[in-house]
């Protein structure tokens, strides 16, 4: 019995929402970055699902590019966190608010 595409898409959506929630509420910047990775993973799942159900490899190609960007983003993000930690001795997102009005 085949599994409908919507189930996979729903799974991706739920994971995306969880990642989004994590990004919005966590104070720890590492976990915020991890949440972004979660969201990207959710998108990957969606892309691969489309690729499979529409018989089109482009979804997988996009997934490769998303992974590339995710890797780059992680490297830059972590470098920023390291610099931030070195300068401000904190990685809590709500303790950094120099830009407030």
């Amino acid at each position: 019995m085949p599994i409908p595409m919507e189930w996979y898409l729903g799974l991706g959506g739920v994971i995306f929402a969880v990642g989004m929630f994590g990004f919005l509420v966590r104070r720890n910047m590492f976990v915020m970055l991890l949440s972004i990775e979660l969201m990207l993973n959710a998108v990957n799942i969606t892309m691969v699902t489309f690729s499979h159900y529409l018989n089109d490899l482009r979804g997988q190609i996009f997934t490769i590019f998303i992974m590339t960007v995710a890797a780059a983003e992680a490297a830059i993000g972590l470098a920023i966190i390291v610099t931030l930690f070195r300068n401000k001795a904190t990685i809590q997102a709500d303790e950094i608010k120099e830009m407030n009005g």
Partner: protein
């Protein structure tokens, strides 16, 4: 029946793992749960006929990105940082928003109409193997984006080094 059971295993565990990723107090645990999540995600890719991506998911996420995370987390001593509130005070708003997004997502998914079917049927991919088919597409039609991606990675490498290098 077995396949459905497998799917439901993933459908139930993966959101749980995702939630564990965002809810652990110690970031190392978060990363380890993320590892578990990636392994499951890789397995899910296998079910979706994307074996190459499954391997790449493990090699790239588990082998590179998450190790990088663990490294950075372990190298910073932040004992005192672990104390204090886990989440910001506005978390109920964010929770409501997230639930709203999920509902909207379900609503949207239920309204999907099928797009045109592509040439890469499962049989076609199997005849050529997934890796080869992907490679052909990537190095012909998507050669330019591929090169751009390599440039992005290069910039990321240089940028990360410039950012994190201690200036003394």
């Amino acid at each position: 029946m077995i396949l459905q059971a497998f799917f439901w295993y993933f459908a139930i565990t993966m959101p749980i793992f995702a939630f564990l990723v965002i809810s652990r107090k110690n970031p190392v645990h978060c990363v380890l749960w993320m590892l578990v999540f990636s392994i499951h995600s890789a397995a899910l890719f296998l079910f979706l006929n994307a074996e190459f991506l499954a391997a790449v998911e493990l090699i790239l996420y588990a082998g590179a990105v998450l190790v990088l995370f663990i490294f950075v987390i372990m190298m910073m001593s932040m004992k005192e940082e672990l104390a204090g509130e886990l989440v910001i005070g506005e978390w109920p708003i964010a929770a409501a928003l997230s639930i709203g997004v999920v509902l909207m997502f379900f609503f949207g998914v239920s309204n999907f109409a099928k797009g045109p079917s592509g040439p890469y049927t499962i049989e076609a991919i199997k005849a050529e193997t997934n890796t080869r088919a992907l490679g052909k597409l990537l190095f012909t039609e998507y050669l330019f984006p591929f090169e751009v991606a390599s440039l992005i990675l290069l910039i990321a490498v240089v940028g990360a080094m410039v950012l994190a290098k201690r200036k003394d």
